[in-house]
Amino acid sequence: MKKLKPVFIIIIVIFAALWAVRSYNERRFHVEKETRFMMDTYVTIYAVGPKAVTLKAINLALNRMQEIDTKFNSLNSKSPVYAFNHTLEPISDKEIIGLIQIALNVSETSGGAFDISIAPLAELWGFYNKDYYLPAPQEIKDCLANVGYQHLSLDKGKLSKDNMAVRIDLGGVAKGYAISEATKVLKSNGVASALIDAGGDVYGLGRKGSKLWRIGIKDPRGEGILGYVEVEDMAVMGSGDYERFFIKDGRRYHHIFDPKTGYPTQGVQSVILIYNDPVVAQAWTKIPFIMGPEKGLKRLEKIPDMEVIIITESGKILYSSGLKHSLNFIKEAEGKGR
């Protein structure tokens, strides 16, 4: 009996220690989640960490995203972007100018393939009021006279335009910016591991415990997902011809326009882009649509550390050389689990 006493105490101590480690891990790796409707979609943030920290951080991050949604939305009458579009009043808001500067850089480096001045075209085709319309060639030609980033000038922190009919839409970069700002809020509030899912545009902050964040790539026409990539501190942004479109006489007309022709692009179903900066990533997702799949892939390959998956009109999957060993097709994934 006396011999067993110390053994008994040691075992109790071991169990108590194991229990304490388990409780600590549960607290440390607790996943908190909140979903809110904004930017015409649902935004969900998952954060890993103690509940008291993650709850507050998620709430603040979502508040910041909502703030950006209101401020940058060209259809919101209180936004400086709305005022710019409906008057000759320049934009001087520093935050908006900062984002416009990034967008104009992408316009220049992509040879005008990405363009924030596409708004008159989107309006003509009915993509704002959702009253879709197939314009006559002359209407498109007239509209194109007011499209093109050359109509915009950025000088001394102010954006102005050369005629009243020029309008801008920051929808091609604003979601990326909202995600970028949300990650900053999460980090400054003590969250090192989180996943932001803004309606298919995703950012993986840090790691999910010891594992990387695993992001599925949606099959644009079929069911489920084609495969997945694993990321850490990286945005996985998508654009597709299936997001907003209408079909007339058997042809699909979607929301991604070629600023040179004034028509929705053809040849690409969807683009998934992987890059550390969600703002730049979101803007470049449009490029393969406009340049075409092969030319678009070649252009994106030139940007260091940017990876892309392009699904062509015929369903062919093209991807950048950097993904050769890291893009996993779903048949491999099904057996793996995690």
Partner: protein, 136 residues
């Protein structure tokens, strides 16, 4: 004498004492608790996926994916089809049918979204998840 005492002690060592009993009960207790905790954590097997239908964070309906059926929500405005462990929007009153065009979803974490109706359809499974989110 020493040898006799030694033999006596050895004999006692194999006897079940009160402490041994407490010890065995404790081991049993921890085993059962651990088993229960692990079981609760891993949840049902991967075949036990469920679909959850939300409108503005409010859960409208949930169902297992093991049975084929049609779910009608929002007073008939939307109908969802559950078939072979998959879900899709079968009918909707929204103007552009984007949610319907998204097709079927079947993996843990996959979602369907109807923006005009503010409806979110999500598959969740307590088993191991293949993916954390879907980019599109």
């Amino acid at each position: 004498m020493k040898n006799v005492r030694g033999k006596k002690e050895d004999k006692d060592f194999y006897k079940t004492t009160r402490f041994d009993l407490v010890f065995i009960i404790l081991i049993l207790f921890f085993s059962i608790v651990s088993f229960w905790a692990i079981h609760k954590r891993s949840g049902p097997s991967s075949g036990m996926s469920r679909v959850y239908i939300y409108q503005e964070n409010k859960l409208l309906e949930e169902s297992g994916l093991d049975k084929d059926k049609i779910i009608t929500i929002l007073d008939g405005k939307m109908r969802l089809e559950l078939k072979g462990g998959r879900v899709r929007v079968l009918d909707t009153d929204c103007p552009h049918h984007i949610c319907k065009n998204m097709g079927w979803i079947k993996y843990n974490g996959e979602t369907l979204l109807c923006v005009p109706n503010k409806v979110l359809i999500e598959i969740k499974s307590k088993g191991p998840a293949i993916i954390d989110a879907v980019a599109y």
